[in-house]
């Protein structure tokens, strides 16, 4: 376990860096939405091998929103939709948990109760923990 945490963090960071440098995972939209059964999306052509999901706010005060972060990394994310509802949100996080994706909190967390905080609580309840103290990368530890 102690050896696994830094390795997974390192892999995630290397993956992100590679995507940024090569631009290999430019935005390709939500081609997997129908397969997943809700408005989920993956950011790039190599997404079938991706085991990283990005959550966050749609538009934080500074920096990119979670969609931009996810697409730049070729990661999974929940596509914003007018048909959003708490059930779809919950189902999306359940699917993330079932796959055992690593989850990156891609934006600063705004004060107060929010959908993002509920997502994080749901992940923690399912056994997710920060990859290391203070990390924005959450990894699943429970079976």
């Amino acid at each position: 376990m102690t050896a696994r945490l830094p390795l997974r963090l390192l892999l995630a960071l290397l993956f992100a860096a590679a995507c940024c440098m090569t631009g290999a995972f430019a935005s390709h939209g939500a081609e997997n939405s129908e397969l997943l059964g809700f408005d989920a999306a993956r950011g790039g052509a190599g997404a079938a091998k991706t085991e990283l999901t990005v959550i966050g706010h749609l538009k934080p005060p500074t920096g990119p929103g979670y969609v931009e972060v996810a697409e730049s990394m070729g990661a999974n994310y929940l596509k914003p939709s007018a048909s959003w509802n708490p059930q779809k949100q919950g189902d999306f996080i359940k699917s993330v948990i079932q796959r055992g994706d690593d989850v990156l909190i891609g934006t600063p967390i705004r004060p107060g109760d929010s959908v993002l905080r509920h997502e994080i609580k749901q992940l923690i309840k399912a056994g997710y923990v920060p990859a290391e103290q203070g990390s924005k990368l959450l990894i699943k530890t429970a079976p």
Partner: protein, 110 residues
């Protein structure tokens, strides 16, 4: 209801008394971000799923935003805001807090 209409309904004091107008072209019903501006202040309203967020900026520096609660906390730490508030991300609560603190925010960011 479109976000622009929600903002008009929840924040009438901005448009009827404080000189704010919407900036940018009118979006469709799926619009999730709208910006209103006065001579000195810019406000960015964001509908993020079930949450409603407000960012504040100066008209002098239109690209720079600060979250409304971050701004209020900063002002409170300097003794510039005496109102108590909770971190609520509901449109009614945000409107109520802004109505009370708008003069102080204007003075602080001027």
């Amino acid at each position: 209801m479109a976000l622009r209409d929600q903002v008009l309904k929840a924040f009438p004091f901005l448009f009827e008394q404080a000189g704010f107008v919407f900036v940018g072209p009118e979006g469709d019903d799926d619009e999730v971000i709208v910006i209103a501006e006065s001579a000195d202040l810019r406000l960015r309203f964001i509908q993020d799923r079930a949450d409603f967020f407000l960012d504040v900026g100066s008209s002098k520096n239109p690209q720079k935003w600060i979250g409304s609660y971050d701004l209020l906390d900063e002002m409170k730490s300097k003794g510039l805001v005496c109102e108590t508030y909770k971190y609520s991300n509901r449109i009614g609560s945000v409107s109520s807090i802004l109505r009370k603190t708008l003069p102080a925010i204007r003075e602080y960011l001027a």
